[in-house]
Subunit: 202 residues, 2 copies
Amino acid sequence: MIKLYFAPMTRSVRILWLLEEMGVPYELERVDFLPPAKNFFAQQTPLGKLPTIEDGDVVMCESGAIVEYILERYDDGRFAPPVGSPERAAFLQWLHFAESTAFPPLGIVVWLTLYRDDADQHQTIVDEARARASMSFAFLEREIGEKTYLLGDDFSAADIMFGFTLGAARMLGILDDRYPKTSAYLARLEERPAFQKATSAK
Amino acid sequence: MIKLYFAPMTRSVRILWLLEEMGVPYELERVDFLPPAKNFFAQQTPLGKLPTIEDGDVVMCESGAIVEYILERYDDGRFAPPVGSPERAAFLQWLHFAESTAFPPLGIVVWLTLYRDDADQHQTIVDEARARASMSFAFLEREIGEKTYLLGDDFSAADIMFGFTLGAARMLGILDDRYPKTSAYLARLEERPAFQKATSAK
């Protein structure tokens, strides 16, 4: 059975959300999140990072990689378009984009305003970080258009990757009513029972 | 044929390197890299980002996603372990880690010291960003151990993802002789003809 090292409000929410959507059995190993002031690898997990999973002999970190691993091993085709299908490129793009492009500027805002106590001395940096963070949501606002989910009508694990990013952006006041289609998309994600279970887990 | 929108010293190097390793035919569309001062999506490509590829009806961005797409469509098994194999989890982990964990702190250093002209007013921020950037290389230094490549004896596309990150880290003076095994690993990657061709393309 998959053991998921978990702390609320961290990227481990993505993995719990996916497991709940799929109905895959799991065991939660709750750990306290330690702000990464000195060391990104100081979490109480086998690799020092959150999330980490164990699954038999497999021990791995990186939320995007764990999502792909779980899909490859346990999905019956409900949460990712098959290799070679027309939707596959968009699936891969959004799965990576959610963390590699959309998240890093949010991480900068968190670092400067929550983990440091001297944000007032670096206001121009904070302002530019917030502006940088908003760029990805302007892009998504155009791309999501009238679609229900990132790939169209069908929910996929790419929505899980991006849903966590959007929740963080809203909490930081960066995703707001400048982006009505993106905000409505996030609201659709929040209606899902698996989302609610994953984000309310303590 | 794949059309790759390319500029030197950008993540598009990863894609060119992969195409060269695989021997897949491609067409290069050279564009000038525009520093993302105001807009991350202002590059002269169909999606405003670098890299972007076109392949028939497919238009996509995100270097990690493009690498996965090209492997799924064109690789005969030489550059990624098959789904379900023992090395698959590590492959996915490192492919994502290279961009999602190892690169963002380097991006902060680039932003503060190359794209802004007031780094001297924010020295404590720059110093902490450099310290954060080095954490991933301390982790890699332990994990690479005596291995030739990330997965052991066999080169894979995960090495391409990480090789670009390591090159950037060395250019910024963050990957240095504190990390001898990681530095030796980068030197092995640099010996590959496909690396040399990709990094010398103008």
